[in-house]
């Protein structure tokens, strides 16, 4: 019966009045607000980075990698593909064989040799796009649709195709391809001629260098007919030749580099360029340039062999680990050069088979099924998550540690609430005595302060939610504003290879942050509330 019950209407009224009149408590609300906002922003950005990274890793790696332990690989990939198909064909969308060997890439920059350690990967351009997003990371629009290891006449992107802002950052690629190759060849020839002329004809009347250049260029500039024989060239200037066949001259004939290319390769863009502080890519070498690659043969012991290759495109996954390490080449060319084709049977060997699963397939289940069929001492079968396990775990751990540290901000706000509430309890001692004299119970008194803490938590978390979401949604504009104000870069695309700060707002994470903040705020008011509840009515009434 209400007449005899002790209710809680007064708690609500007093909480509300304290909230409106005790401005000092709002100081702790600000701490909670900032803590919640920071956690929302950091979690969203970290989730964005993590998602972006995982997408890229997964885009580069196929779902499951079927590998040989040996560098020489395993024979007869077609037989292996059929066996894999038989074991888990219902869940497989596509497969492609690859050969991967460590190698050294060397190229000349202004007369100096630059050598880089790389992973030299032989791929089948017809099937590789089925198992990974490889194609979409290339710089030539036609290659993105169907990769060819033939050098293109031009038309390489001068903007980053993955960058939505389309800022022109790669003017050097404007002349990449055959025009660049011809220009380079002519420059080299001219330089050579000039040196010879200088040596032999001191007394001869010499024409100006400019005149010589014009003459030479006129003689060698591309005519209506293509560099290759007309029968081998399509209307758009592309070769009809087998792209995997090394474009070497016939035996005994000297190769004309202005018209012919070596075996095409696609190196990672990080091997050939660097990004300056202004976000513009500086290229050390371009499509059309020749490079030397040294790699081991398949025999035992492996011997180092070296060959010339022509860069036909660049690969840019935005994962610097891959972009500065991978060089792709036609698989049959690499197999031939490494001696991975059985001379008697003509059956090739490969290092691995990349497997792409159907969208609803179960990754680990397929892996386990294949592990049952293929002996583990001969083959290593791993999912893309297994292969990047340490990296993904490191990112998860980083997020966990960051969350703990940031939660301490809210914990500090909690201590603020604790201190302020103790102060308020002292200040309100007489009021507590009055309430007790009017019949308020001790638990009711505690309820006022717990409710007050809950109100502060709700207010702080609510404000933090609004602030955090506002910052997250506008983080790139805020970044630009901060950069404009301070004159220094807050987010350097040359480090991250993202043009914008990626964010993902996860409602579950935000829910936990809000609940955590409210629990801390309410929890911090427990001790002051208990102290208030324990006050003796008469002593409280006498408090000055």
């Amino acid at each position: 019966m209400a007449d005899n019950a002790i209710g809680d209407m007064y708690k609500l009224l007093l909480c509300w009045r304290y909230l409106r009149t005790r401005w000092i408590a709002l100081a702790s609300v600000i701490s909670v607000t900032l803590g919640v906002a920071t956690m929302i922003v950091v979690n969203s950005v970290m989730a964005g980075f993590s998602h972006e990274m995982q997408t890229r890793i997964h885009g580069i790696l196929s779902d499951i990698v079927f590998e040989s332990h040996s560098l020489s690989g395993f024979q007869d990939p077609q037989w292996h593909i059929e066996e894999i198909e038989r074991a888990a064909g219902d869940q497989i969308a596509g497969m492609t064989p690859t050969v991967a060997v460590p190698a050294m890439l060397s190229f000349q920059v202004r007369g100096q040799w630059v050598t880089r350690q790389v992973m030299f990967i032989g791929i089948d351009p017809r099937t590789h796009a089925q198992v990974s997003d490889f194609g979409q990371y290339l710089q030539h629009p036609t290659n993105r649709e169907q990769l060819s290891f033939s050098l293109r006449e031009g038309g390489y992107d001068t903007t980053d195709s993955q960058n939505p802002t389309k800022t022109p950052t790669r003017p050097a690629l404007e002349h990449a391809g055959w025009p660049h190759r011809r220009m380079r060849v002519e420059r080299e020839r001219l330089w050579k001629e000039r040196l010879e002329t200088k040596k032999s004809a001191e007394n001869k009347a010499t024409r100006s260098v400019d005149q010589q250049v014009q003459d030479v260029l006129a003689a060698t500039s591309p005519k209506d007919d293509s560099p290759e024989t007309s029968s081998d060239v399509t209307e758009d200037g592309e070769s009809r030749k087998n792209p995997f066949q090394t474009a070497r001259p016939a035996q005994g004939r000297a190769m004309d580099p202005a018209k012919e290319q070596f075996t095409g390769i696609v190196p990672g863009i990080g091997l050939a360029s660097f990004r300056n502080r202004q976000g513009v890519d500086q290229f050390l070498t371009l499509p059309g340039d020749d490079v030397k690659i040294t790699f081991p043969t398949a025999g035992t012991p492996p011997k180092a062999v070296s060959d010339n290759f022509t860069i036909v495109d660049f690969y840019e996954s935005k994962m610097s680990e891959y972009d500065s390490n991978f060089v792709f080449v036609p698989i049959d060319a690499l197999q031939r050069m490494r001696g991975m084709i059985d001379p008697q049977t003509g059956i090739p060997s490969v290092n691995s088979i990349q497997i792409r699963l159907k969208p609803d397939a179960k990754l680990n289940e397929v892996r386990d099924r294949l592990r049952e069929v293929f002996p583990s001492d001969l083959y290593a079968i791993a999912t893309w998550r297994d292969k990047q396990g340490p990296l993904l775990s490191a990112v998860d751990m980083e997020m966990a540690v960051l969350n703990i540290l940031l939660f301490l901000i809210i914990a500090v706000a909690g201590f603020g609430i604790l201190a302020i509430f103790f102060m308020i309890v002292v200040e309100k001692t007489r009021d507590i005595g009055i309430l007790k004299a009017l019949g308020a119970t001790s638990s009711g008194i505690a309820g006022i302060f717990l409710g007050y803490g809950l109100f502060l938590g709700l207010l702080g978390a609510g404000a933090g939610l609004v602030l955090g979401l506002s910052i997250t949604y506008n983080i790139n504009q805020i970044r630009l504003a901060v950069e404009w104000c301070t004159g220094s870069r807050v987010f350097d695309p040359s480090i991250y290879y993202f043009f914008q700060i990626p964010t993902i707002i996860d409602p579950v994470t935000i829910g936990w942050i809000i609940i955590g903040a409210i629990v801390i705020a309410t929890g911090s008011s427990v001790l002051p509330a208990v102290r208030a509840a324990r006050l003796h009515a008469v002593e409280a009434l006498r408090h000055e």
Partner: protein
């Protein structure tokens, strides 16, 4: 129904039997009440007088269930209340005992009207309050109007004079229709005129409404306006004149 409206044949509203109370101050034990026997008849109006430190306020606190006696018994309307559970005491204090203090003790965050409503706000839950609010508010306004404060309903305590604050405190004590009103030197902080007004109001409540009142004061003139006088000295009842004969007359 109030907790004290229990059918009782006893003519006594309030009674203490051999109530003792002592306080510990460091190593010193201070005996404030040393076996107080006190009785207040129904509809009685007693003034408790005595020198400072004689135990007047402590006795009032014990009778008002704000403090527990070390020994002895407290009875209200024929029911022993000193040994009730804490929650029951809280309930009794809210519903059956009205208290007025020397320092008014109004809640500064609330308006005059809300202060008067405070005991009902404590009594009702949120949902009950919405059904009872209109009646409670009307009653509070009526009480404030009776004490000449109809134009001060929405003033905060700091905007009121001492006399006005004390009248608000009396209205607050009456909002629950208590069976007994315990007033602890209600005129102590007031000027003579305001004090006289307060005592007059209490006398009227006793006379017109039959409200049992215990008034603690050290002022003999004010005490003389009560129907009976109890004098405390060194923690025991020195003189007790319950005024029953006057009342009967």
């Amino acid at each position: 129904m109030s907790d004290l409206e229990i059918p009782s044949k006893t003519p006594l509203m309030l009674e203490t039997r051999q109530v003792c109370k002592q306080y510990q101050s460091g190593t010193t034990t201070l005996e404030v009440l040393r076996g107080v026997d006190f009785t207040l008849e129904k509809e009685g109006f007693l003034a408790v007088v005595g020198q400072s430190g004689s135990g007047k306020s402590t006795l009032l606190h014990v009778m008002g269930l704000l403090d527990a006696p070390d020994s002895g018994e407290v009875w209200i309307n024929g029911r022993r209340i000193d040994n009730l559970p804490v929650r029951e005491k809280d309930r009794l204090r809210n519903s059956s005992i009205g208290m007025v203090f020397q320092a008014y003790h109004l809640l500064p965050e609330l308006t005059a009207l809300e202060n008067v409503l405070a005991p009902l706000l404590i009594r009702y839950g949120i949902f009950d309050w919405f059904t009872q609010r209109r009646a409670a508010q009307e009653k509070a306004e009526e009480l404030l109007d009776r004490f000449g404060l109809s134009d001060r309903l929405h003033h905060r305590p700091r905007q009121l004079s001492g006399g006005e604050m004390q009248r608000v405190a009396i209205a607050r004590a009456l909002i629950t229709d208590p069976q007994v009103l315990l007033a602890d030197e209600p005129t102590g902080n007031l000027d003579e005129e305001s004090g006289a007004g307060i005592i007059e109001a209490l006398a009227e409540l006793n006379q017109d409404k039959g409200l049992s009142i215990v008034l603690v004061t050290h002022d003999a003139d004010i005490a003389s306006q009560a129907r009976g006088i109890v004098r405390l000295a060194a923690g025991i009842v020195d003189i007790m004149n319950s005024g029953a004969a006057d009342s009967a007359a």
